[in-house]
Structure formats: structure tokens, C-alpha cells
Amino acid sequence: MTEQVRVLTSRWEDDRAHEIDRFMELDGYASLDAAFAKAPEDLVQLVKDSGLRGRGGAGFPTGMKWGFLAKGTGKPTYLVVNADESEPGTFKDMELLERDPHALVEGVIVSAYAIGCRTALIYLRGECGWAGRRLQAAVDAAYDRGLLGRDVKGSGFDLDVVLHRGAGAYICGEETALLSSLEGQRGQPKLRPPFPAVEGLYRAPTTVNNVETIAAVPWILRNGVDWFRSMGTEKSPGPKLFSVSGDVRNPGNFEFPLGVPAREVIMEAAGGMLEGKTLKAWTPGGSSTPMLTGEHLDTPMDFEGITAAGSLLGTAAVIVMSEDVCIVNACLNFTEFYAHESCGKCTPCREGTDWMRKILLRLETGQGREEDMDTLKDICDSIFGRSFCALGDGATSPIVSALKYFRDEFSEHVSGGGCPFPGSRVVAAAH
């Protein structure tokens, strides 16, 4: 059995942790003095040594990302926090901001100091009212106490933080699209290279990091690299938030060391399947990661383990589906999402997601044809690796994996003249 850990969640049980005084009683902002006592480059090295990997989905090593920031450009360096959490099934960052918003502010101060940033911007999802109020209050309180603004805590380091609300666009979780949006443009991705580390916000060196990533940095500083590496695996060290939703008894966020077997997350922490139900499929990292099945429950949930099982760790958002969930219906639901959220910039994603939506809808409503499965696969092949950004790739994940594990169920939709599951909910509400 893997024990749950309390690092990022250590203050979540305290219902006053969002207040700055209480946060400081709980050792909040304690990492600042330690940070200012070090040279910035030593902090970057520390994060490199810790092996911290980005918690926003891609798992790119954070210290390396910081190390890529162009030096001597004569332009400012920007830290942009990606708080635009919107991958279906993912709800870790919003709970962190609701429960412990100063944890992010503390991480922003340490990280900005490390990379020589004087203006940090937090791009927060617009639809999350409570998290927004909490974070705004935390930023305001930090200014009041001299933890932001000029000469932070007498260190000589100046830092401004701008909280910026998104306006409803999943694509803005993609880092170059996020930067476009921050510049007041449509949130469409940009060609890379140049990468944001060289030409990001306002064409200046920029790092874009996830909330959970930045919130982890002060802990590494306080407790050390060895402590951080004592959790997780060699290549995926540290603690991680897992969001579990769907047909489980106890949905919620759980913090485990990376590498925890999926079975322990789903069947133990999240309370197992709803009564009388059996597991059919689950996503390891949100809707954009290929579904896995009950056969994969012993897979270690780290970047390597989940990749070896044929999927991706993504945001570690586990959506659990039971036997009575129609897989075609589930694919239709996800594909409606991608068709709606496709930014329209590139043809494979813009057109392909909508075609797939139409085909899945006709399968679900009894208009399907035997060749539809091949057509779906064909469209997926035309999107994957050919779309401008990862949104298109992600859109193919549910369908490709569903065809791999549940192809017969697609066929039944054709031979049976529609969805064989009673009370098919997409049809009920939407069509």
C-alpha cells in the first residue's frame, strides 16, 4: 500500500489557510528568506536537481525549462502561471487555489526570483469564481505585507503579480495560445520554434508553468532535493495531485507519490466503484489521454509507467467509467468538447473534430454504418501529428483507445440500430 502524502495538500484541512496570517503560522512564506539567501542560478540548479517535472500535462522538466530562458536579450523575463485548468476531469489546481491560494503566491515569488522575473502574470480560468476571489485576496494581502511589489521583504528584489482572467477557451491552456490571449489576441497557438523561453510574451523570454508545479517549488527549497526525490520514481520524482471523478464512491483530489499503482488511487483512495458497478474504462490524465481498462489497474501512475501502458499521465485526472457507460456515448461527449474547443486555426483539428462528432452521433442514434469505425480511425490518423498543437492529438485519444478496446461495442451500435444502453444520456438531453 502506498501512503497518501501531505505536501501540496498539507494545509487543505485548515479552513483558514487562505488567510495570510494563518498561512504564515503554518510556515507559509518561510521559503522566501532561504530563497533570497541563494543566488538565483543556484535555485534553478536546485529545481533541476530535484527532477521536478511540469504538472500541467506534458511533464517537461521544470528546471530545464527555466534553463532555456534566453539571457542578455535586453528584454524582461516573464513568469506566466497557467491556471487555466480545463482538461476534462481535472480539478486539482482550482481546489489548491480555493484552499491554499498563498501557496501559489509563495511559489511565484521564489520562482520569479530564480529566473530574474520582475512581472509575473497568472492566467486564471474565468469560470472559477471562488478560486478567483481567493487568489485575488491572496495577491492583495501579499502586497499589503510587502511580499510583493518593491523590495520584497527587504531583499532588494521587486516583483509585480498581475492576475488575469481567461474568458472561456480550453485552448488557452496550451502555452503559446495562453500567451496570445495574454497579449489581447484570439487564443490561438503559435508556431514553435521560437519557443516561449526565447520569444514568449511580447517576444520576450517567458516560462509558462502550471499552478501545481510552481506551488511545489517552495517545498523543494525548504525540505531539499533528497526529500523530494524520496517520493516517486527516479524519472518521475515527488508528490502529485490525482483528481478522481466518475463512477467512484469518493471522488476527489488525492496526493500520492508519483508511481502509485492506479488500483490504489481508484479502488482505495477514491473508494472504489459505485455499489454494484464494475470498472470498464478509465482515463489516466483527462479526456486527452487514451483510455485504459481494468487490466491496467496495476500500472504505476508516473510518466513512464502510463506511457508504457499505451497512454499518458497528462494531468493525472482519472475519469472512471463503469460497465453501464456506453463507450460510443462517452466518445461523443468528449468529441463534442473538442469540436467546441478547437480554435479553428488548423484544418485537421477544426474539420476533423466536427466530422468525428457527426459520425459518433449517427452511431449513437442508429444511423451508423459498418464502415464508420474505419472512417473514424482514418480521421484520427489525419489529425494526430498533423494538427498545429496538442489539442488535435488529444481529440483522437478517446476514439483511438475506444476502438482498440471496445470495437465490438461500436459494431453493436450498427447492427442493433443504435445505442444498446438504456437511457443513453447524450441523446436524452442534447439531440
Binding site: 485548468e85 480545463s86 476531469g89 480539478f91 489546481d93 482550482m94 480555493e98 484552499r99 512581472t119 480560468r125 474565468g126 469560470e127 472559477c128 469564481g129 471562488w130 478567483g132 476571489r133 481567493r134 492576475l163 488575469h164 482572467r165 474568458a167 477557451a169 480550453y170 490571449s181 495574454l182 497579449e183 489581447g184 489576441q185 484570439r186 483528481s243 471523478s245 463512477d247 464512491r249 469518493n250 476527489g252 483530489n253 488525492f254 459505485l274 479526456s287 485526472a317 475519469i319 467509467m321 462517452a330 461527449n333 468528449f334 463534442e336 468538447f337 467546441h340 474547443e341 478547437s342 477544426r350 474539420e351 438504456p422 437511457g423 444520456r425 436524452a428 438531453a429 442534447a430 439531440h431
Partner: protein
């Protein structure tokens, strides 16, 4: 003018926060929406002048994001999450029922102009499925009947407390107030929000106050009966809840929100297109405490 002189000053305050003026475009569009109830064509022209952009450039941005509205929105914006974890717990039955009750298609505003109902994508609160928001504040694990009661209260201009009220979450008393806050200008003017707090908080489906936190005690399985029952599809809800409606000549706002896959010329048009009012401008309550229940 759409933005009053006073709010133009606030817009300059927003511009000053950013290294480049244009970065303030999204916040300023929220400010405009707080004042006008939607992104009005006159407002687009005004914002374009303010930032040195063309109307087409501003329109292109305004139509890209789902939270910017091209028609006036009600005082209360009810958003039902439709993505899988919520759908698994009955979200589509809720959205269909609410649309039917308000007698509008999804995205529409009821005749009194009080309540707009829409389906939205994942709201990042999947452990509280099904999630319904009022003015972006969460009302989690509601049954269909509880969601209907919530909307009944809103129609009476009463605002039930959100799920996490005990932990400090507060629902914005109007969409005007919400949009002001989204602009990043702090507490909205009192005129933007006074609402009678409803006597009864919205209970969760199992009658327990929801305590979203890690390691929560296992909760009894509740809302799954609906989908196991295999109920006949509500025919009356079917037409009312057609987010695609591809053949409708004048799609309702919400379903007719600019599709980002649409040909680009729609964006240019947007700046010039006068949105036809489908409902009255949002009600703004009399002045009073905008922070009821805090």
C-alpha cells in the same frame, strides 16, 4: 457611450497594469459587459479606439471566447456542466429540465430577463458532479429537482447560497457584478448587485453540506438511479435542448456562440453586427449590500 467616463478611467487603470496596452483587451471587454450586459457593437468601436485597434480586431477577440456575449444575458447566468463526469451523474437531464422550465433553448434567457441557462464544458470541479453554476459559483451534486428549485428561486430574484458558502464561497449577485469582478477591478459597485438571499441554502443531493476536500468520507452512491432507469426520453425537452441546431436560421446565443471553427469572415462581421435583442438588458437590482452572505 457604452463605457461611461468613469469606467473609461477604470479601463485606463487596467491598461496601466500591463506592459503593453493590448493585453488589457480581455479585462476591458469584461468591463464593457458589466456595463452593457453584452459586448455591444458600440462598445466594440469604443474599445477599439481606446486601444488603437480596428473594430474587426476587437470583434475577432470578442467572438473567440465563450464568456463574451453577443446578446444581453440575464441577471443570473446558470451554467450546467455537460462534460462526461457530470453527464454520468445526470447533467443532461438537468440542463434539459431547466431549459424546459424557462421555456427557452439552451443559451436562452427567460422572458422576464432574469435567468439565462446554458450548457458549458468542464468546470474543473468534477468531484462535485453534476456541477451547476450561478454566475460562476458552484452548486454541486444537485438532483434535477434541486436544480429546478434553484432556478425557481432565481426567477423570484432570490439567490440560494452556493455549495461552499460555509467555507467562504459567495455567488455574485448579478452578471453585471460578475463581469466587473472578472475585469479584475475588485469589489463591484453596489449598484451592480443586491439580491435577497434565499432562506434555504441549496442542499446537496444527499442533504449533506458538501465538503470538498481530500480524503472525504465515502459518500453513498446517489444520483445514478436516473440513468439506470432508462427513462423514456423527454420529448418536450428534446427540441428545447438542441445545442447544435444547425439548420436554425437565427441560433440562440450560447448555441450560436461563434464557433471557432467557423469561417474567419464571421469575426470581421461581428464588429458590425448589431445583436438583436432576444431578451431585455440584464436587470440590475437596487443598490444595497452586494456582499450578502459573506
Amino acid at each position: 457611450m457604452p463605457l461611461s467616463e468613469q469606467n473609461l478611467a477604470r479601463a485606463e487603470e487596467l491598461i496601466a497594469r500591463y506592459p503593453q496596452r493590448r493585453s488589457a483587451l480581455l479585462p476591458i471587454l469584461f468591463l464593457l459587459q458589466a456595463e452593457d450586459g453584452y459586448v455591444s457593437p458600440a462598445g466594440v468601436a469604443q474599445v477599439a479606439d481606446l486601444l488603437g485597434l480596428t473594430r474587426a480586431e476587437v470583434g475577432a477577440v470578442a467572438t473567440f471566447y465563450t464568456m463574451f456575449r453577443r446578446r444581453p444575458v440575464g441577471k443570473y447566468l446558470v451554467s450546467v456542466c455537460k462534460t462526461l463526469p457530470c453527464q454520468l451523474r445526470g447533467a443532461r437531464e438537468i440542463s434539459a429540465a431547466l431549459a424546459e422550465r424557462l421555456d427557452v433553448p439552451l443559451g436562452g434567457t427567460d422572458q422576464s430577463g432574469m435567468v439565462t441557462v446554458e450548457e458549458v464544458e468542464c468546470l474543473a470541479a468534477c468531484d462535485g458532479a453534476p456541477v451547476v453554476q450561478v454566475n460562476t459559483e458552484n452548486y454541486e451534486r444537485l438532483s434535477r429537482d434541486e436544480a429546478l428549485r434553484l432556478v425557481e428561486a432565481l426567477l423570484r430574484d432570490e439567490l440560494p447560497a452556493p455549495t461552499f458558502a460555509a467555507a467562504g464561497s459567495v455567488t455574485e449577485p448579478s452578471t453585471a457584478s460578475l463581469h466587473w469582478r472578472l475585469a479584475g477591478l475588485g469589489d463591484p459597485p453596489a449598484a451592480f448587485g443586491a439580491t435577497a438571499a434565499a432562506a434555504e441554502p441549496a442542499a446537496t443531493a444527499d442533504g449533506q453540506p458538501a465538503a470538498r476536500r481530500i480524503g472525504r468520507e465515502p459518500s453513498p452512491p446517489e444520483p445514478t438511479e436516473q440513468r439506470e432507469a432508462g427513462e423514456p426520453q423527454p420529448a418536450e425537452g428534446a427540441g428545447a435542448a438542441a445545442p447544435e441546431a444547425p439548420t436554425e436560421p437565427e441560433p440562440p446565443e450560447g448555441s450560436g456562440e461563434p464557433r471557432r471553427g467557423a469561417p474567419v469572415d464571421r469575426d470581421a462581421e461581428a464588429a458590425h453586427e448589431a445583436p438583436q435583442d432576444e431578451g431585455p438588458a440584464p436587470e440590475r437590482g437596487p443598490s444595497g449590500s452586494g456582499e450578502a452572505g459573506r
